[in-house]
Symmetry: C2
């Protein structure tokens, strides 16, 4: 070892010990006859002291050390005169007796500090330097710990981690696959898995009973700000279980993780039906850190000659606590906000519930104080609160109001990243209809089981079928989802039929699964959690990018290694493909 | 849950309990008024009893149950009259009171038994049924446990598991890459990693200090019997370490795994230089479960007018314990064996060391009893042993003799799969020369550090340079290998130069690593272990295939899902590639 201790190890108990440390020069401070250097490694920072009295030569050498030089020193631990009680090593320093430069460094293109001066692009290009920064390193250590506790929990419950293949078969269903040309089978391609869905179901057919895997998955999608072409999933499947069993086991996992990773007792997870989530929050992943539920006040607004409300299918109100003091400017700005194309509202109606019991609204022309009071009462708005109203087609206005609710929650400060609220959203519809084509799509995936009592509706009213499907939602983010699967080949065939697969298509794409179902498939179900997202949530961050060691940018490009890149013609020829 | 207990849980202590079990019908035995069914799940087998006295209706139903039907039963635990003390549940049976068929099954194409009647191809095609067989399932459970203990050991030593990307950049160096066309960057390709080598080195530059990952890697090679296009690696890297530290840490891991997985104390691992391994075993992965070292008897054979030996650069002998009784037929067969093109020897000379102290050889014409005795003494051959001699160019004959030694070890029974001997092979040459082109290739990889004292030889005698590289060998199989890396950019540039990379090539392929080395790369090194191979070794098997849930065949084809396969023209067009 090129060290006797790491840079976070030594404290006052080690005074007078001879030690060897190695690490990076984080900071150098020169004072006449004295130089201090902060030596950094993964574990911490230790102060080195070079003193003219001890060795003039060493002092001179120390002044040649630039930022991020890698050095090894030998020396003696001494008590510091000027202590820093914030860090473990803050009471001591090392009187350096020998200095070896292990490697030099150019000046980094940005400062290696908690708050860096580097922009996104430069940090991505020099990711290996960005990863030296403590917050980024801590994110990846957190990620390691989350994985460890996930495994710990599932191992204790007799789950077996099984690796499923990465080179699989392309299925046109769902998102786009990344494909891999096969050299040995020219003209044919492997695909990278969007999830190990069919393999984990096959493992259940094989009797594996309880499977998990922390596994890379791939989607060739146009990347939004916070998507990655490769991402990691905690993938689980169990046999001989019902929905209730899965919810209980993974509620236990969520509780375990919060306890172990954050020291938080997250408590019992409430359950909310998809229908209720849409009705009261306009969202299948409601943020329940705060209430501010929707109030349906359509009837109360009718017949007062306000044509906008009279014409609307639904009028919704939310009550924003303590916001009655909003200025005209703030209200105008909020109106502009809901009218942005991303939200799409035509306008915003407000009612200020003044401290004196009176009301001031943007529709005073049409409504009396009594009217406004009725709205406020229905919406549990009290003196000092601001009532915000949107109207329109029910589904659209629910969606718009959901955005406004989240925005107001943000502004009021309800969405504290260190406050965690998790819930299950259950009873999802099995199918959703494409508005343009009228085609039915699986809301979850084509292997999700309808609730048994709803199976007859497959022929008569597919849209009304509820599925044994569930999502885990934390702080308004969908962290995971799953379902009880179909294990009966006739029902699976029926499902493919409803989804518009021909027999041939179904057989070509999922023949192996249909075949497997001929040989004693057990009842089974499972769940998959977004591991990157889970980690970023535990880290209190919005973006998953800094919880991935080497992420790609929005063009799917790794800026550091400059991939993808062109390849040799020879390579292409061997593969039997051409760039067109 | 569709069960109160699993099929391996119940024993005599549970008698009279009401239970619910679910599982597969493994066997049915009908006896007039009585039917027994072996119900199987992952955990074991429990006997079900259907009795006419209890319910004629249930008895009739039970006789409709075919092999591999999935059923759920309710019943009462009873003591068996005819006990099977070999299994935990063998003292009890369940008197069935209710039977539900959860799924039917076609008759499987082969028997789901420890010894199956299914051939390789059919088992691969119906892998989900093959995985139901206990030996295959146990292999995957073993794999899970090995992974668990690897993580446990490394976690305890403060290693951090970091996921490195799967979509990376193609490098023409080394084996062929699998490539992935990029839709968003048309004409460009990602490559799948052959190993995370450069990323783990970058993590060291980032200060991660101790990294590991159990990770999928990919090689588009023509597949030999026991290679897979995707395989799993235990990948590790450490900073501020020397070779000795790495050997100690991973020797500890090997000891930990043998203890935890096999209950075996493997002891201290001996170390052997590459030079010694080649000299005494003709092999850089010597099987040291048995001695049978090479004896160099060239000088003893000279000048006796046997032209074959006189002309040979080297004459080697090994002594096969107790084989002096080999028949003429056995010796002829062994001679044919060494003359096969895979071995390539011109012939085989033998000396039988008879019990009476005399010698009988195939070269009695040329050599006296005294000559033969001298050979035998030098080779520690005793009465009853068989001396086997090969001759030729040193390197070639070492290789041939290595094969013969292993073959004789096998025949004598020295290569017991339940006897484990591990060692380190160290001091590998840094470079090897292509005989045809004269070009130098990195024996390990281009990032391996020469021994510091050998660095000057880079300009004068590259072939003589020893590397800080090491292999972990168990029972004659290379389980892993690693090296101390180059951390100095000048030395790395020099290395690329010796390997015949132009500056441009080196920069295009490894520019990001060379850049990273400009910013304070610490001294570092690591190791990678073949996880599939390690598991198959712990499982006492030769092939890795049954330690992989869904392996591919020798054509790189997944027989079960029938991948690779053709893909839509539309998909190809989107990707901007054509099949040529």
């Amino acid at each position: 070892m090129l060290r006797s201790h790491h840079c976070g190890a030594l404290d006052i108990k080690n005074v007078n010990e001879k030690v060897v440390l190695s690490g990076w020069v984080a900071k150098r401070r020169d004072f006449g006859s004295l130089t201090f250097i902060d030596l950094r490694d993964r574990y911490g920072i230790t102060q080195l002291s070079f003193n003219e009295e001890y060795s003039k030569e060493l002092l001179i050498q120390s002044r040649e050390l630039g930022r991020e030089f890698v050095i090894q020193i030998e020396g003696t631990v001494a008590e510091r005169s000027n202590k820093n009680l914030k860090i473990k090593t803050g009471e001591i320093e090392i009187i350096v007796e020998k200095l070896t430069i292990l490697n030099s460094s150019l000046t980094p293109p940005f400062t290696i500090d908690d708050e860096t001066d580097g922009g996104d692009d430069i940090r991505m290009q020099y990711r290996y330097l960005d990863l030296r920064r403590e917050p980024v390193r801590n994110n990846l250590i957190l990620r390691h710990q989350v994985a460890k506790h996930v495994r710990q929990y599932l191992d204790c419950l007799d789950f077996i981690e099984v690796e499923t293949p990465v080179l699989i078969k392309s299925t046109p269903e769902g998102a786009r696959d990344f494909v891999v040309p096969s050299r040995m089978n020219q003209g044919q391609f492997y695909a990278l898995p969007q999830s190990p869905q069919t393999f984990k179901q096959l493992l259940m057919v094989s009797g594996f009973d309880k499977y998990y895997q922390i596994v890379k998955c791939f989607r060739d999608e146009d990347l939004r700000a916070d998507r990655q072409p490769e991402f990691t999933q905690i993938d689980c499947e169990l046999s001989f279980v019902e929905q209730e069993d899965i919810l209980n086991i993974f509620e236990g996992m969520v509780q375990h993780l919060f306890k172990e990773v954050k020291g938080i007792d997250i408590g019992t997870l409430p359950r909310m039906t998809f229908e209720d989530a849409m009705k009261w929050y306009g969202n299948d992943k409601p943020d329940i850190r705060f209430e501010m539920k929707f109030n349906y006040i359509t009837e109360l607004t009718r017949g007062k000659n306000f044509p906008v409300f009279d014409a609307a299918e639904t009028v919704l109100a939310i009550s924003a606590k303590g916001c009655a003091t909003y200025t005209r400017k703030q209200l105008d700005e909020l109106t502009e906000w809901v009218k942005r194309p991303q939200i799409g509202a035509k306008g915003l109606v407000y009612v200020m519930c003044n401290e004196d019991g009176s009301y001031k609204s943007s529709v005073d022309k049409f409504y009396t104080q009594e009217d406004l009071k009725a709205w406020a009462n229905t919406s549990q708005a009290e003196a000092g609160d601001l009532l915000l109203l949107l109207c329109g087609d029910t589904k659209k206005v629910q969606k718009q109001m959901s955005e406004l609710r989240l925005e107001m929650g943000e502004r009021i400060g309800y969405r504290d990243k260190n406050n965690y609220k998790a819930l299950w959203v259950i009873d999802f519809p099995l199918l959703e209809q494409d508005e343009e084509t009228g085609k039915w799509h699986a809301m979850h995936h084509p292997f999700t089981s309808p609730k048994p009592s709803d199976i007859p509706l497959l022929d008569t009213n597919p849209g009304a079928i509820k599925a044994n499907a569930y999502d885990l939602v934390i702080n308004g983010v969908e962290i995971g989802g799953g379902s009880i699967r179909i294990h009966n080949k006739e029902l699976q065939a029926k499902m493919f039929e409803v989804l518009g697969f021909s027999d041939d298509e179904a057989r070509y794409q999922f023949g192996f699964l249909m075949n497997a179902f001929e040989y004693g498939a057990p009842p089974h179900g499972g769940i998959a959690l977004g591991f990157d997202r889970l980690c970023s949530m535990f880290g209190g961050a919005d973006s998953i990018r800094d919880f991935i060691a080497f992420p790609k940018n929005n063009q799917g490009r790794d800026m550091m290694i400059d991939a993808p890149s062109t390849i040799d013609d020879k390579q292409l020829t061997e593969l039997g493909v051409r760039v067109s």
